[in-house]
Symmetry: C2
Subunit: 334 residues, 2 copies
């Protein structure tokens, strides 16, 4: 990662972690529930969403300290969805550690996710400085949080339902990831800009930026899930195939495969017992059909669109940081 970006991300991470540690105290009981809720956040995470909140606040001229509770709230929402996703996808590992339901069981994991969601609202309602933020603006932010979470749930449901749908179109795929992934990034930039006092036109541009950046992020996430390094990524490679996840890669491959290739892809897709050799064979088909290249090219094109929406902001270090994070979405290794 670019050194300038790394420094900026570390700075945000420090601020956010400090606030998280103030919110989760030793007195919280039952301890198991609170430990389960914070487990994934403690295991790491890049704090991309908090970064987007604070930089979007800054780029419209706001004070980032005021936006900090929102940054934490969105990180809570992100992590609540991860806890529930891991149960849904039956994933054992994330961020190189065991997932919440593996460590505490599904009942506590479901409840820990629910609580983290409620805590997101709590952080905003309790920690926002009422002297600096009007009630109306606060309500607007709560409204955005709520709408975005509903979209994330819709996207998550589509992701689940598409596992059992034979033909998923590119349009359906983009609708799904727009909700599942972009919606939370859009929430991050919008709420950061709203609390920073941004103009409507600025909020709109940041919104578009985050929408396209989210698509890039998800496409590259799917690419990494196939081609990444298991040790760096912290989760098993190729598991998306076993789960039957629809990605831009599988959609492209299925649309361009001959009968024999199509049969072999479909026999592995959604087959939890697919062997490593079968998965390797399917990856080979993807390569021969240039489906992975197709996804990367598409991601780069969308990245350009994302960046274009930023270029009307003056060339400040804050704009540079947002541009760099979007570049990083393509180059990242985990």
């Amino acid at each position: 990662m670019n050194e300038f970006l790394l420094k900026q991300l570390n700075d945000v991470t420090q601020k956010v972690n400090l606030t998280i540690n103030q919110i989760f105290t030793q007195e919280n009981t039952p301890k198991e529930l609170y430990n389960a809720s914070r487990h994934l956040m403690e295991a790491g995470g890049k704090r991309l969403r908090p970064f987007l909140v604070l930089k979007s606040c800054e780029i419209v001229g706001g004070e980032i300290e005021v936006a900090l509770p929102i940054a934490v709230a969105i990180e809570f929402i992100h992590n609540f969805t991860l806890i529930h996703d891991d149960i849904i996808d039956n994933d054992d590992k994330r961020r190189k550690v065991q997932t919440v339901h593996v460590l505490w069981g599904i009942p506590i994991a479901i409840t820990a996710g629910d609580m983290l969601f409620a805590k997101a609202y709590e952080v905003v309602l309790y920690n926002i400085d009422c002297k600096k933020v009007t009630s109306k603006r606060l309500l607007k932010i709560l409204d955005e949080i709520t709408k975005a979470t509903i979209l994330v749930c819709e996207g998550q449901a589509l992701d689940i339902l598409y596992e059992h749908k034979q033909d998923v179109s590119e349009k359906e795929y983009f609708n799904m990831i727009g909700k599942k992934t972009s919606a939370l990034l859009q929430l991050a930039v919008k709420s950061g800009a709203i609390i920073g006092g941004g103009r409507r036109s600025q909020i709109k541009k940041l919104d578009k930026f985050a929408y396209y950046a989210g698509l890039v992020f998800q496409i590259m996430d799917d690419v990494l899930g196939l081609t990444g390094d298991e040790k760096v990524l912290g989760k098993p490679i190729g598991s998306d195939i076993q789960k039957g996840k629809r990605t831009l890669i599988t959609i492209h491959a299925l649309a361009h495969a001959n009968n024999n290739q199509r049969k072999r892809i479909l026999s592995g897709l959604g087959n939890k017992k697919a062997s490593l050799r079968e998965i390797e064979e399917i990856k080979q088909i993807f390569r021969s059909l240039k489906s992975i290249d197709y996804a990367i090219t598409k991601a780069k094109m969308l990245q350009k669109r994302a960046i274009n929406h930023l270029l009307s902001f003056p060339p400040t270090p804050t704009r540079e940081a947002l541009l760099k994070i979007c570049e990083y979405f393509i180059m990242r290794e985990y």
Copy 2:
């Protein structure tokens, strides 16, 4: 059920269902997610929490129409917790129908619960009449919703954790059900009274009323789970024993059992394979130790405390309705 109460409850149910039907429209997609979210609400439910919201609004002199979105929001929260509870407890039936995860699978059920939680905030944020409710009051209500849901999650976690704890004290039991059950009833009366413009002293009395009424409700729920009629109740009798649920009855029995009785109770408690005969034997021990009577007597005592907090309100039909609902908590059959 008393005819006066039945009429009042039906009236509330009609109003609430109408609003729910306006919120869930045919256009919502993905259909599976929205159908899963509304499934339990459509299957029935007594709308006790909406009833408490509207009557509490009325008793402090407020217009019930203004409180309707809050009544619906709290019904959403209640149902979101039921969807997740049924997964956690592995329950197949509720309200005489199959549970959400049985019909749509665990992944969609988890997501449907999450979305219903978000929808609760949406209802309040979108449907409250801003001409009649100040932003400050609206924020206060969102704050109460958030705090209550965190308590419900804590109570739910305690309920789960106590299944594996050998000795649970009465104090721990009351702390658990105060969070798991009373918190949402307290939210209902408080938010109803807040939006109705109630005075602080009125809100405090209603809060105490709902706290004790919630304890009564939960104790009697545990009694019904042992002694009720399976067909009326709509779920299997004695399953609390198999699940290892700690109730006032089991706590009393374990504290008063001789060694042999204790051994027999513990061999069935939390034993998913316990036979109907074993459960019947344990019920017999509960009867011989008068543990069920003890729970009912305790519930009646707490009911008196609940009622006492209402008696300082003038004797109106609204007060009568709240008194009757609390009486019903003891007499109900499902």
